[in-house]
């Protein structure tokens, strides 16, 4: 991200920490340290470090290396949608 050309849209970006609650609601445990491999560039990122755009119809998580969409979450009154097409896989280390 270029801090010099930042506008309000850039400032409103947060990261995967901001949707830790939604992710925990979906998966049943903390997901911020799960590692997603980007389908666009194969970079590995912990969910907490993904770029997060949460002010819109849903939450959009993007790869911090190539900005491509890694996952999207939409909450409707009746259902939760999770689209994870943008990741090759998600790695969750077993609790020791």
């Amino acid at each position: 991200m270029n801090v010099e050309t930042a506008d309000m849209n850039t400032e409103l970006m947060v990261d995967g920490n901001a949707i830790a609650g939604e992710l925990e609601q979906i998966f049943g445990h903390d997901m911020t340290m799960a590692v997603a491999r980007c389908a666009g560039c194969a970079a590995d990122s912990m969910m907490a470090t993904l770029m997060a755009f949460v002010r819109g119809p849903g939450a959009v998580l993007r790869c911090p290396s190539c900005t491509s969409v890694i996952a999207r979450i939409v909450e409707t009154p009746t259902a939760t949608y999770l689209d994870a097409r943008g990741m090759l896989y998600l790695r969750m280390t077993h609790a020791s």
Partner: protein, 204 residues
């Protein structure tokens, strides 16, 4: 699950004097909330173009200076976002889809349009809801160049549908023979999105 009415939290307002102009479930805002699904693209204007392709006889494309020479219209409209805010009397200047389609020969099967944007955003709108002045590509808001956080240099504006249809950072329209879903329509949002019918989610 705990359930509480937060004491003294009024949420948002539906002032009686404008009540009739607010679609169901919508609240009035006076500021202009920034909504987005990704980083601001910042495409330099000398590399910007607007394209019409897909099911057309021959694709067309305008550079920024060419686009600026197209005849424009100025409109004042109310806009409603599916996140429940409505903003009244927003003033835009832009080029109507009717103007853009002059001289474009659309395949009769091309009854659906996918608007596509810098950064990969897409949204689908049936052709008959873009023509006759219903949709335009705006590059001025409130007599000033459209700021990047609101979709500048240019965005689609289709005021009679929820505002996610008004794609920010638009770069073109692609004609299709099916009503394929765009970015939000493919993940739980309504394929059409009429605020007066409260078409928020698929199934509404």
């Amino acid at each position: 699950m705990a359930r509480l009415i937060s004491r003294g939290f009024l949420g948002r307002r539906r002032p009686p004097e404008v009540e009739k102009r607010l679609p169901p479930g919508q609240y009035l805002v006076t500021d202009f909330p920034v909504l987005s699904a990704g980083p601001t693209p910042h495409t330099p204007l000398d590399r910007w173009s607007f394209r019409i392709d897909g099911l057309v006889k021959s694709p067309v494309s305008w550079s920024w200076p060419e686009f600026q020479k197209l005849p424009t219209e100025t409109v004042t409209v109310d806009i409603s976002c599916v996140t429940k805010w409505t903003k009244l009397d927003t003033k835009w200047r832009g080029v109507t889809v009717d103007t853009l389609l002059k001289g474009v020969e659309v395949d009769p099967a091309g009854q659906y349009v996918m608007a596509f944007s810098d950064g990969g955003y897409t949204t689908n709108v049936p052709l008959n809801e873009l023509i006759n002045g219903q949709g335009f590509v705006a590059y001025e808001f409130d007599d000033k160049p459209l700021p990047p956080e609101h979709g500048g240099p240019a965005r689609l504006v289709v005021p009679h549908l929820y505002f996610w249809k008004s794609a920010k950072w638009i770069r073109g329209l692609r004609f299709m023979d099916r009503n394929d879903p765009g970015f939000w329509e493919s993940l739980g949002y309504h394929i059409h999105g009429d605020p007066w019918k409260e078409e928020r989610y698929s199934g509404d």
